[in-house]
Symmetry: C2
Subunit: 159 residues, 2 copies
DNA sequence: CGAATGTCAGCACTACTGAAATCG
DNA sequence: CCGATTTCAGTATTGCTGACATTC
């Protein structure tokens, strides 16, 4: 039998062509790696992605209810609760009952929250720069443009 | 207080600028959506991503040991076991002990496996086309090129 | 002995669902 | 009564780690 002879023992970049042609796979791998890098960078300062996203939404949209934040940050309402608990514990947000609608809370960014956002923003900007390092300025814009188009198309397709 | 007046009730695309500028976020969202689309397409024919990847590796690299497949398909050895069990159950692969090294199994693609791979390949090609629909041929090539560069850079950076 | 291989068990994290309590 | 909001509990999937027996 030729069992041993037919095994390929060589290492290196042996990724099959079939896999290389799959945009899903390339996007998935690259996206996952980006997620890891930025996740690790945020973890290094004791934060997670949701913290940044929620703070950013509050900074740009002003005081909001939790369901508004959930919609804009694309976080589930149920998961948002824990995030807000943590941010509130660090005094980066305030959670006050809305007198006009007693079902809601009004979430407000504090000064500490604004500082924290600036910190996280700087961290992620560093990550951004590191990720985009091999691309020129025009290439970066082009990448954004292409991804944006695909993303819009996918979002319109099935929600 | 102006609690109610400061709330923003308008819906639509309110994604904060800060978030739009994050390549990680755009890639993450787009990649996740691609993953969902292709995952759903594969689930519709009773398969998962790993099935396709493993079959593709076997088709292009020939009979291999499990750890070789794991390396090339970027699947963990531990997770590969279940995948191979399923493929073996459907008679799409054979798992024979390697007489030359009794620690190893030699995994071989069967004819049924080749047929299955062709089927999954067609399914994913459809997904690919659907995802890339809004882009022209040159734009698609450009996207691949840019992503490939970033991916190679990230992979070289930290493994 | 140390290293590789296949296997199993389990952990951590994220996305997601469901339901309850309160209120409009 | 129906619907929205906040909250808690739990599921499911996936990436990943650790341990173990066997064999080189």
């Amino acid at each position: 039998m030729e069992t041993d002879a037919e095994l390929r023992f060589d290492r290196g970049d042996e990724t099959p062509e079939r896999l290389k042609r799959q945009i899903q796979r390339l996007m998935g791998m690259t996206g996952a790696q980006m997620g890891k890098v930025s996740g690790a960078a945020l973890a290094a300062v004791g934060a997670r992605r949701d913290h940044f996203v929620v703070l950013a939404v509050l900074a740009e949209c002003g005081p909001s209810s939790q369901s508004q934040i959930a919609d804009r940050a694309r976080v589930y309402r149920s998961d948002l609760v824990a995030v807000l608990n943590e941010l509130e514990g660090a005094a980066q947000i305030r959670r006050d009952p809305d007198p006009a609608d007693k079902r809601r809370n009004v979430i407000t960014l504090t000064d500490a929250g604004r500082e924290r956002l600036a910190e996280l923003d700087a961290v992620l900007e560093g990550v951004n720069e590191r990720i985009m390092a091999p691309l020129s300025e025009t290439e970066r814009r082009e990448l954004f443009r292409l991804l944006g188009r695909i993303n819009a198309h996918l979002a319109a397709d099935d929600g």
